[in-house]
């Protein structure tokens, strides 16, 4: 029989690993010798999406940078649970400075590397900055925008769990509408966080026309790794916004973390795409479209929408927002439409 490549594998590209793939085609996370940049023993909650997303992303970045990577980290859950004295979970050079300055700290690291490299005192070391949505979309936004605008050689990764979870679940500008937080109590005719507020930083990042912007979730590892790897292959400012469910803040079961990330994408609530130089160049298509209720009902932060008198109108608005994402980013294949 003549050679015929087999394109289909038992579980496609959805699982973490695949014994049938060539080692070079396998995910970073499948590697028995993966970096585990974020080591065991960290104090994240059970089922923490951010801990998972951070290891996914930083391991991929480490892989792309051949181990020569420095990370700057904003204040927040990730920082607190990973580095309480006297132990750190990080296995890479890592610095935490402040809540709102991570992008700038990373700029400084990149500048130092550039000089040291030119002087022959350092190899080609790469820089990532990382923070939660509060540290990125709110308090760190000025520094982030500055880093983007100067096109500094930094990959900024935002782990978006839609609120200030470390301080006890308060609203951020990434908190979705209708979600309950400690500062958006579900009272009054429009319960939960308000509609018409908040910002979607990936779109703002695109407006800076930086070389690369992408969104991802912890449910699509291969996509996430592809994007981190791609970003690491580019020089200049890059931004990846990763949706990381928070069992505590969302009122969800700890085993549902990946499921919720998947549902956020499959409902269209969270568009997964990539953009180069300000233009969308790719989308991760919805595979099995679901109504928003499938996503909302598994989270106590939306429980007020499903009480004795279901908030039909609010749910419809959330569905409309998801549908808008689907149209705007072309999240459904034509034939699936």
């Amino acid at each position: 029989m003549s050679f015929q490549p087999v394109h289909f594998y038992q579980t496609g590209t959805f699982t973490v690993g695949n014994r049938l793939l060539e080692p070079s085609e396998r995910s970073v996370q499948a590697n028995i010798q993966r970096t585990n940049s974020l080591n065991s023993g960290h104090r994240a909650c059970q089922g923490c999406g951010e801990a998972l997303g951070a290891r996914y992303a930083i391991d991929a970045a480490m892989n792309a940078a051949r181990g020569r990577l420095i990370a700057a980290n904003a204040t927040g859950c990730l920082e607190v649970f990973s580095t309480p004295y006297p132990e750190t979970s990080w296995q890479i050079p890592w610095i935490h400075s402040l809540f709102g300055n991570t992008a700038a700290v990373a700029t400084g690291i990149a500048a130092a590397i550039k000089v040291k490299k030119h002087k022959g005192e350092m190899g080609d070391v790469r820089v990532v900055a990382q923070g939660g949505d509060g540290g990125t979309t709110d308090i760190g936004f000025g520094c982030l925008s500055g880093m983007f605008e100067r096109n500094d050689d930094v990959l900024y990764i935002c782990y978006d769990n839609g609120g200030y979870m470390n301080t006890g679940v308060q609203r951020s500008s990434a908190t979705p509408p209708a979600a309950r937080t400690a500062t958006t109590m579900p009272v009054g005719p429009e319960p939960g966080n308000q509609f018409g507020q908040g910002k979607f930083v990936p779109a703002i990042a695109m407006a800076h026309e930086i070389p690369y912007v992408a969104t991802a979730t912890v449910a699509d590892l291969r996509d996430l790794e592809y994007k981190v790897t791609k970003a690491m292959g580019i020089r200049g400012a890059r931004y990846i916004h990763i949706l990381v469910p928070c069992p505590l803040g969302w009122g969800a079961a700890s085993e549902d973390t990946i499921l919720l990330a998947r549902l956020a994408k499959e409902t269209g609530i969270f568009p997964v795409f990539e953009a180069e130089n300000g233009e969308v160049t790719g989308t991760l298509k919805i595979r099995r479209k679901q109504p928003v209720e499938a996503y909302l009902q598994r989270q106590k932060r939306y429980a007020h929408l499903f009480g004795k008198k279901p908030a039909v109108e609010t749910i419809a608005r959330l569905q409309a927002a998801a549908d808008k994402n689907i149209r705007k980013y072309g999240l459904l294949d034509q034939e699936a439409n």
Partner: protein, 417 residues
């Protein structure tokens, strides 16, 4: 090499000679000329292997500096006034992380009301930030202190602020002796960081520290400043052997040995005070001056030793601790504790108010006569103040105080309508 040049430019040249690797710049008067000069030097290739970064705020400037310093790069930035307040969180962070950043503070008042002129409120607001704070008396000393600052910062692993009076020094053209690169290289070795972000030896910097170790961390910050207290005179001595000048050190005494009255001050006003002291000495008054060069760490022993034989001490400072009075004088009085001395605090030169020799003559004479109050606001326009106080007493909607007073004194720039 002797040069007639602007203070800012002299500082820029000094920083350039220190082979900085990362410079972050954000414009705020009156430090702008320094970073402008450095930018030019980096662009022209006069300073090599240096990244010059235009950042979007002072907060970013200090944050970029934190990142680059933590990666082992010799890092410099400059700011003033509102800028230092805006970066304040990062200022504390830089020292907390033990990063030897050198920053020029072109001293300027803090608003409101907004004011671009000189006083020391900005630097002194960061008194407890953990930074070493050195004050320059002249442009030559400003130049020299930057070279000293890098060496000091890197030896003790703490950041250093070099404070120089905005406009009075930064914008004054004076003759300065600019050292050669060889001299600077001989004094200042390449930066060998105590810790650095390095993939070959990864560490986590900036851990969360709880009650179990926080006091110890803070004590160690204090201990390091105490080490600096020892080191500063030694570095000044080294400096002299290479550059042939007295610069830096903890304090400068002028005619204090037999003085009954000693004036304590920081920065460029020391020159004016010395002129007044010279004149009063000629008139037979036993008066002298103690200049404080190192405000943090504060040289309690040196100050005490300088003051212990005097009868009275006048602390003349360009800062105001609202609600109590002096800032520097609080520290001076701590140095004096147990000594039976008359102590006076004089708040002068706020927001760029000129401190004239005439006023100083009158002030010191009053002190010598024993008529000076414990807290004095030099050359305060009591008419304006009283008028405003009366207005506020009688009218609920008395309007903005600063604008009202400007109208009272006849300055029309802020007139509305």
């Amino acid at each position: 090499m002797l040069k007639q040049t602007e203070g800012s430019h002299a500082v820029a040249e000094a920083v350039g000679l220190c082979r900085p690797e990362v410079i972050c710049a954000y414009p705020i008067s009156p430090q702008t000329h320094i970073v402008e000069g450095l930018g030019e030097m980096v662009k022209s290739g006069e300073v090599t292997d240096c990244e010059f970064i235009n950042v979007e705020s002072e907060f970013a400037a200090m944050s970029v500096a934190i990142g680059s310093s933590a990666t082992g790069a010799r890092t410099y930035t400059a700011t003033a006034s509102q800028g230092i307040l805006f970066m304040c969180e990062a200022v504390y962070n830089a020292s907390g992380l033990g990063l030897p950043i050198v920053m020029t503070v072109a001293n300027r008042a803090i608003g409101a009301p907004i004011n671009i002129w000189n006083d020391h409120t900005d630097a002194l607001s960061q008194r407890d930030s953990g930074w070493i704070q050195l004050f320059a008396e002249t442009n030559q000393e400003a130049l020299d202190l930057h070279i000293l600052a890098f060496k000091l910062a890197e030896e003790v692993s703490l950041p250093v602020m070099v404070c120089m009076d905005g406009f009075i020094l930064t914008h004054a053209y004076e003759r300065v002796d600019v050292p050669t690169q060889e001299q600077v290289d001989a004094f200042l070795p390449p930066y060998e960081p105590r810790q650095a972000l390095d993939p070959t030896d990864p560490v986590s910097i900036g851990a969360m520290v709880g009650p179990e170790a926080f006091s110890e961390v803070r004590y160690l910050a204090h201990a390091k400043q105490m080490q600096a207290l020892e080191l500063i005179p030694k570095l000044a001595a080294q400096f002299k052997t290479i550059f042939g000048r007295d610069s830096g050190g903890l304090t400068h005494s002028y005619l204090t040995d037999d003085a009954e009255t000693i004036v304590v001050a920081m920065g460029s006003i020391l020159g004016t005070i010395k002129d007044v002291v010279d004149e009063m000495r000629q008139a037979g008054e036993k008066i002298g001056v103690l200049g404080i060069s190192s405000y943090r760490p504060f040289p309690l022993d040196n100050v005490r030793a300088a003051l212990q034989n005097a009868k009275r001490v006048v602390v003349l400072e360009k800062s105001l601790a609202v609600g109590i009075g002096g800032v520097v004088s609080t520290d001076v009085r701590m140095a004096m504790s147990g000594l039976q001395l008359e102590g006076h605090t004089v708040v002068a030169g706020l927001g760029g108010r000129a401190i004239t020799m005439k006023s100083l003559h009158a002030l010191f004479a009053k002190a010598i006569r024993g008529e000076l109050e414990r807290l004095t606001f030099l050359d305060l326009d009591w008419d304006v103040v009283n008028k405003q106080l009366e207005r506020e007493r009688t009218t609920r909607r008395s309007g903005p105080a600063a604008e009202s007073m400007l109208r009272d004194v006849g300055v029309v720039a802020a007139r509305i309508g």
